[in-house]
Symmetry: C2
Subunit: 340 residues, 2 copies
């Protein structure tokens, strides 16, 4: 699997490529699969449908890795939090975490309740070509905590930040509980067939540097360490959106660093590539235009050259209004451009 080789900085015939949120609404096949489910949560819980959505972009785009179709919020859901997805409105958690007893009330059995994800992984791995990697994933403790505290998405993260600055012990208690659940969840995903795991810290950049390392990065690292000590053969990829200003202080035991589009790839290369594989970071909006795709890929190739340990990806997720044709063009162009 060239994706796994690249995570371990071993030689590969070209740069492996996959796209964050590659199973998504820009694909008519995805919409057809989704239509078979009652609602979005049902979609996540239906292992057969999740496996179907996971496999689609591999067949359609020729990417080198599939990422299991799911949502980061299945962890809070199975910890017992009420969760609703309203069309076009994003997730809503109508009974957010407000105090210690809310945290105490979270179930410790989420890892066991997430069997539908493990089933989807097993089913996907059965149908996936042997040279294609299957990626498991989870949200970071901090990112999940923001949803659980804010009761949904947020522009300012005011409630979660207020807790960080005025009740840090309470926040740490929640983050520890989440870290335990996420570690167990990822290990079970590996048992079920995931060849690599990625932690998505979508809102890491909502924290200033000091707070980022205290409330987000340290927990991501603890999870990575637990996985690496149990399963050193499985690459761990960490992706913190918006942490580009903090790279000087990044370290610890993981394999690949996901670079967002807001972080110049040259900066990531200079600061991290001696120790980590790098994954990323084309600006997703370049998908709107083929010439912009070409210049974006060429610019990354100019910086990274054909060095081992580079994985092509976007710097953020695919958007619903992107074209499948341009996505396919992108993957082909990457494979050509980085061919050794």
């Amino acid at each position: 699997m060239i994706f796994i080789d690249a995570c371990f900085k071993k030689p590969t015939p070209t740069a492996p490529a996959w796209l964050m949120r590659q199973a998504g609404r820009y694909l008519s096949e995805y919409l057809a699969t989704r239509a078979k489910a009652k609602d979005f949560i049902d979609f996540c819980r239906r292992s057969d449908l999740a496996a179907e959505a996971t496999l689609q972009p591999v067949e359609i785009l020729g990417v080198d890795a599939a990422i299991i179709f799911s949502d980061i919020l299945v962890v809070p859901l199975e910890m017992g939090m009420k969760l609703e997805f309203e069309r076009g409105a994003g997730p809503v958690l109508p009974r957010p975490i407000q105090n210690e007893s809310d945290i105490d009330g979270l179930s410790d059995n989420a890892v066991d309740r997430l069997g539908y994800v493990y089933d989807a992984l097993r089913l996907t791995r059965e149908h996936l070509a042997p040279d294609k990697a299957l990626i498991g994933f989870a949200g970071s403790p901090w990112t999940l905590a923001t949803y659980m505290i804010e009761g949904g998405g947020s522009k300012t993260y005011a409630i979660a930040k207020k807790m960080a600055y005025s009740a840090p012990d309470m926040l740490h208690k929640l983050l520890r509980k989440l870290s335990d659940a996420i570690s167990g969840y990822l290990l079970r995903q590996i048992d079920a067939g995931a060849n690599a795991v990625q932690i998505f810290d979508s809102w890491g950049g909502a924290l200033e540097k000091e707070a980022f390392f205290e409330f987000s990065w340290s927990y991501m690292l603890k999870i990575a360490e637990r996985i690496k000590s149990a399963r050193p053969d499985i690459p761990v990829i960490l992706f913190s959106k918006g942490a580009g200003g903090y790279l000087e202080s990044i370290g610890g035991d993981f394999d690949a660093f996901g670079v967002d589009w807001n972080t110049p790839i040259e900066r990531a290369k200079n600061l991290l590539f001696d120790r980590y594989a790098l994954q990323g970071n084309m600006e997703p909006a370049r998908l709107y235009d083929k010439a912009a795709i070409e210049s974006g890929v060429r610019e990354i190739a100019r910086v990274m050259g054909k060095a081992d340990g580079y994985i092509f990806n976007l710097g953020h997720g695919m958007q619903p209004d992107f074209s499948r044709e341009n996505a396919k063009f992108l993957v082909d162009f990457v494979h050509q451009t980085f061919a050794r």
Copy 2:
């Protein structure tokens, strides 16, 4: 005026302090003033009320500079765009820019139509203590363009970015038109009594590095150059939110760089302080807690020391749920901490 001295890196008895969005809903006096206006646009157009709101935080908090109360969207408004502020929903521009003829249709007379802002500046300067600076401001061309193209705020800037990558000439045409208006607007603000001007590039960080310099920073610099060549005595402050990863490439003719909270102040100091005054960058959420305020200010003081050319500010704006007591505590604590 210690604020102006600091912008020019001259010695000051302590670090001057002001807070972005210091005239805001966290102050009951502001709410009382706002209640006298019909709606938010009327508030911006009523020079007497704008001056009143501008002066309040100087009296209440003891900040060293007042920033004229207004909104960056008065420029598109006076270029002829329909603009609505609905309570709690943010600005809406119901007829966004979609093609070249929409751009051609924008009025060239906005600078003359903004007389109410100049009147507010004159009125404020009359009532402001002579040692307090009055700051004029405008949004950056790119930031205004995003509102004008998206028809309001945006999470992904998909429409504006699509234009950047697939119709860059059209976007440049709009940005040139905006730059002309903004340059004229800021010069007229200076004529009316502004002692310094700041350009707010709130959405600069929505662009990847290459696009940031092409579509945002280059236009901010052109405006700065026009102001500096006409009025070298007036400090120009540039603030691009989210551009912390791009500091290695920052240069040009302006006086002070505004540092957002997402950019470590140490990084800004290392890369920019030899050439520019620095303003910023305490995480606003620290306002929720006095101990967090103290440690935030002390951390900046540890990095910046008592060097001339440092202006205290937040790394983003004040929020409606902040307490005036903590804001006052912050300003006093800054003045004490940085006293020579």
